[in-house]
C-alpha cells in the first residue's frame, strides 16, 4: 500500500529520515545474523556437531527469517511509493540490493546445512569428521540473537529434533525462495544502476581489532612471514636466556656473599 504523505516541510523529511535509518538498522542486523549463521554452518558435519549446534542454527535461522520478513515489508512499501524523493529512493535501492544479496547468501547456507544434515546424521557420532574444532558456537549464536549470553544450562532437546528440523528447514528454504521471487515481481530495482558508497578496498578495521586478527593468521608461504616468526622465537629465547643469566648471577652472588 503506498504511503500518502500529506505533510509538507520539515516533518516529512524527518519522517523519511527515520524510515531510512530504520531500514539501515534492519539491514545491518540481517547481515550480522547471516554472517553468524554462516559461521555456525561451517561446523556442521565436524566433531563439534551436536543437537545443541542444530538448535542454535534453528534459532539463528528463525531470527533471520523474522528480520527478513520485516525488511521486505518495509522496503517494498517504500519503494512502491511513487512520491518518494529521488535521493531517498537511491538509498532505499542500496538497502534493497544489500538485502537481496543477504537473502541469497542465507539461502545458499541453508541449502548447504540441509544437504550436510542428510549426510552427517547425529545418530552416528563416529561418522563425524574430526576437523580440529573444539569449542561450540554458543557465543556466535548469542551474537546473532543479540543476547548477552545464551541460557546457561542447555535446554533439554528432544531426540527427534533432527527429523523435525529437516521438515521445517525444507519449508523455510521454500519460504525464502518465494520471498526472493516475490520481491523481484513487486519492485523493479535496476541493479546495474545502483552505485555503492564504499571504496573498493575496505578500510581495515579499527587498529585493535586488526592487530588481534593479524596475530591469528596462519603462516603462509610468504617470505615476509618466515623471518617474522623466527624473529619472535629468537626474541623469546633471548629473554629466557637473560632471565636465566640474571638468576644465575644472583645465586652466585648469594653464595659468595652469604
Amino acid at each position: 500500500m503506498p504511503l500518502v504523505n500529506n505533510k509538507v516541510g520539515n516533518d516529512c523529511t524527518v519522517g523519511t529520515d527515520k524510515t531510512l535509518a530504520d531500514g539501515k538498522d534492519l539491514v545491518e542486523s540481517v547481515i550480522k545474523v547471516v554472517a553468524c549463521y554462516r559461521h555456525l554452518a561451517a561446523c556442521v558435519g565436524g566433531c563439534t556437531d551436536s543437537l545443541q549446534l542444530r538448535d542454535e542454527l534453528r534459532q539463528t535461522r528463525e531470527k533471520a527469517l523474522n528480520l527478513a520478513e520485516a525488511i521486505r515489508l518495509h522496503l517494498t512499501s517504500h519503494l512502491r511509493d511513487k512520491s518518494l524523493p529521488e535521493d531517498q529512493r537511491k538509498e532505499m535501492e542500496l538497502l534493497w540490493v544489500a538485502f537481496s544479496s543477504s537473502l541469497e547468501l542465507l539461502h545458499v547456507d541453508m541449502c548447504k546445512v540441509f544437504s550436510m544434515g542428510d549426510n552427517f546424521s547425529l545418530a552416528n557420532t563416529a561418522s563425524l569428521v574430526q576437523t580440529g574444532l573444539q569449542g561450540g558456537g554458543s557465543e556466535v549464536a548469542a551474537r546473532a540473537l543479540s543476547l548477552a549470553d545464551l541460557n546457561q544450562e542447555p535446554p533439554t532437546l528432544p531426540a527427534g529434533l533432527e527429523s523435525q528440523e529437516r521438515s521445517t528447514m525444507e519449508q523455510e528454504i521454500s519460504q525464502i525462495d518465494h520471498m526472493i521471487d516475490d520481491m523481484e515481481k513487486k519492485v523493479n530495482v535496476l541493479r546495474w544502476m545502483v552505485e555503492p558508497r564504499g571504496p573498493q578496498y575496505a578500510d581495515p578495521l579499527s587498529s585493535t581489532e586488526s592487530a588481534s586478527l593479524a596475530l591469528l593468521s596462519v603462516d603462509e608461504e610468504q617470505p615476509g612471514h618466515e623471518p617474522r616468526c623466527q624473529r619472535s622465537l629468537i626474541f623469546v629465547f633471548l629473554l629466557l636466556f637473560a632471565v636465566v643469566l640474571v638468576a644465575a648471577t644472583l645465586s652466585v652472588c648469594l653464595v659468595l656473599f652469604s
Partner: protein, 455 residues
C-alpha cells in the same frame, strides 16, 4: 619400543583397510566419506596428534607418512594425493602445495561440502577476498588482487554488502576461541585454493569470440530497408527461383517420396558426368550459388585456369577451410596459406591491396579462425566483379548449358488410378485461382441478397 608397537599395529590393520579402500576407490563422495571415517577410527585408523602453533594447541592433525602407512599398497600415494586434491585433507604447513608428502608434514581433515549451489554466486569469493584483505591490511597475492578487482567490476552494485558481510564475519569469528578461529581460517583458505578458478588471460578463444561478436554487431547496424523495396526484391527472387522449386514446379523426373524412384537424387548428386539444366541455370543467378555447388566450382576453376587467375579461387577455398575447419589445424593451415599465397615470391601469389595485406600479415602472428577474413573478402569481390561475369559469357558456360540434360517426366502409367504424380500436392497457385473462381461465383449469387456482413 612404543613406536615399534605402533608401527606393528598400523601394519597389521592395513590389510583390513586395504580391502575397504579397494572397494571404495572410484565411487561417489558418500563412499569416500566412509573411507575418511574409517581412517579416523580410534581403533583401526591412524593416530592423531596435536598441532602446536606458538601458544595454541589444535588437535586432530596427522602426518603425511601416517596416511601412507595406513594402506600398504602402491596406490596409496596416488590415493593420498587425490584426497588432498579434492579437499578431504588439507596441508597445514604449505597450504598452496596440494600434494600428499610422505614425510612429517602435517595434515588435517575437513568436511567437504558435497553439493554446491547450482547458480554461480560471486558473493562467496568476493567476501572471502574482502576478509583476507581486511585481515592482511591489503597484502594480497597478485592473482588474488586481480580476482578482487574483477569481482569488484562484476558485482559492483552490491559491493557495500560484500564489505559489510566480510566485516561481520570477521567479528563473528572473534567470538570463538583462538584455536577454532585458526582451524576455520585454514579450512576456508584450503577450500579457495582448491576451487581457485584458472587465471584469466586473453586467449585466442577470446579473440575468436570477439570477432564473432563484431560480425553480429555489424549485422545489427545494417541499414533498414523499407518493406516495399525489400518486398520487390523478394518477389524478384521468388520469380527467379520459381522454376527451381520442387514444391511449386514439381521435380523431374518424378518426386522420389511419392514414386519411390530415386532418379531425381542420382541426377542431382554432387558430382555427375552431366548436370541437369536447372542446376546449370542456377549458377547464373549469383556467385554464391556457383561457389556452393561442387560441380560449379570445378567448372569455374577450369575457366580460371584458362585465364591464369586460378590462384584466387584456391586462396578463397583455403580460407573457407580455415573458417569451417578444425581448431587444432588452424595454425598450420595459416602457415600453408602464407607460404603458398601471401609470401613474396610465392607459387600462387594473390593480388591483395597493401592495406589488407599489412593487416593480414599482422594477424598471422597470432593466428585464429577469422584472421584471413579481410583478404578472403577482397578476393571474393574481385572474382565476383571480374571473373564471374566473364565466365557467364564464356563459351565454357554456354556449352555446359547446352549439354545439360532435362530429364523426362516419368510417363503416366496406363491405369489411371496408378498415375505417378509429378506434383506432391496441388500447387498453391492452382488452389488460389480455384478459390478466386468460387468466390466470384458466390459473389454473383449473393448479389441479390441484402448487403450484410460480407465476411
Amino acid at each position: 619400543m612404543f613406536t615399534y608397537v605402533c608401527v606393528c599395529v598400523c601394519v597389521c590393520v592395513c590389510v583390513c583397510v586395504c580391502v575397504c579402500v579397494c572397494v571404495c576407490v572410484c565411487v561417489s563422495p558418500l563412499q569416500m566419506e566412509k573411507v575418511i571415517v574409517a581412517m579416523q577410527d580410534p581403533d583401526m585408523g591412524m593416530k592423531m596428534r596435536n598441532q602446536r602453533l606458538l601458544i595454541t594447541v589444535i588437535p586432530h592433525a596427522m602426518t603425511g607418512v601416517c596416511v601412507l602407512l595406513l594402506w600398504c599398497s602402491t596406490e596409496s600415494l596416488h590415493l593420498g594425493n587425490m584426497l588432498v586434491k579434492y579437499g578431504y585433507i588439507y596441508p597445514l604447513k604449505e597450504p598452496r602445495c596440494l600434494v600428499l608428502r610422505p614425510d612429517e608434514s602435517p595434515y588435517r581433515f575437513q568436511v567437504r561440502p558435497l553439493s554446491m549451489s547450482i547458480l554461480p554466486t560471486f558473493y562467496n569469493p568476493a567476501i572471502y577476498l574482502a576478509k583476507k584483505n581486511i585481515r592482511k591490511q591489503g597484502e594480497l597475492m597478485e592473482y588474488e588482487k586481480e580476482r578482487y578487482s574483477l569481482l569488484h567490476k562484476r558485482i559492483n552494485h552490491t559491493w557495500d554488502f560484500v564489505v559489510m558481510q566480510a566485516r561481520e564475519q570477521l567479528r563473528a569469528s572473534k567470538q570463538r576461541r583462538k584455536a577454532d578461529r585458526i582451524v576455520l581460517e585454514c579450512q576456508e583458505q584450503a577450500y579457495w585454493l582448491i576451487n581457485r578458478p584458472p587465471v584469466r588471460s586473453i586467449t585466442l578463444h577470446c579473440i575468436q569470440l570477439y570477432c564473432a561478436i563484431e560480425a553480429c554487431r555489424k549485422a545489427l547496424g545494417r541499414n533498414r530497408v523499407k518493406s516495399s523495396i525489400c518486398l520487390e526484391g523478394f518477389l524478384k527472387y521468388s520469380e527467379q527461383y520459381l522454376n527451381h522449386d520442387p514444391i511449386m514446379q514439381g521435380c523431374l523426373p518424378s518426386n522420389p517420396w511419392i514414386s519411390d524412384d530415386t532418379a531425381h537424387w542420382t541426377m542431382n548428386a554432387e558430382i555427375v558426368p552431366v548436370p541437369t539444366r536447372l542446376r546449370v541455370e542456377r549458377w547464373s543467378f549469383s556467385f554464391m550459388e556457383l561457389l556452393n555447388d561442387a560441380m560449379g566450382r570445378r567448372e569455374f576453376m577450369t575457366y580460371l585456369e584458362k585465364e591464369f587467375s586460378a590462384e584466387n579461387l584456391y586462396f578463397w577455398q583455403a580460407c573457407e577451410d580455415i573458417r569451417h575447419g578444425e581448431s587444432s589445424k588452424i595454425v598450420e593451415k595459416v602457415e600453408d596459406i602464407y607460404k603458398n599465397f601471401l609470401a613474396p615470391g610465392a607459387a600462387r601469389w594473390v593480388n591483395i591491396d597493401s592495406k589488407t595485406m599489412d593487416k593480414t600479415l599482422e594477424g598471422i602472428k597470432r593466428p585464429h579462425r577469422f584472421v584471413m577474413d579481410d583478404a578472403q573478402m577482397h578476393i571474393y569481390f574481385l572474382m565476383k566483379k571480374d571473373s564471374y561475369p566473364r565466365y557467364l559469357k564464356s563459351d565454357l558456360y554456354k556449352n555446359m548449358l547446352a549439354k545439360a540434360i532435362v530429364p523426362q517426366e516419368t510417363k503416366k502409367s496406363v491405369f489411371p488410378f496408378m498415375r505417378r504424380q509429378r506434383h506432391s500436392s496441388p500447387s498453391p497457385a492452382q488452389t488460389a485461382t480455384q478459390a478466386a473462381e468460387e468466390e466470384g461465383l458466390a459473389k454473383g449469387a449473393g448479389a441479390n441478397s441484402a448487403a450484410g456482413s460480407h465476411f
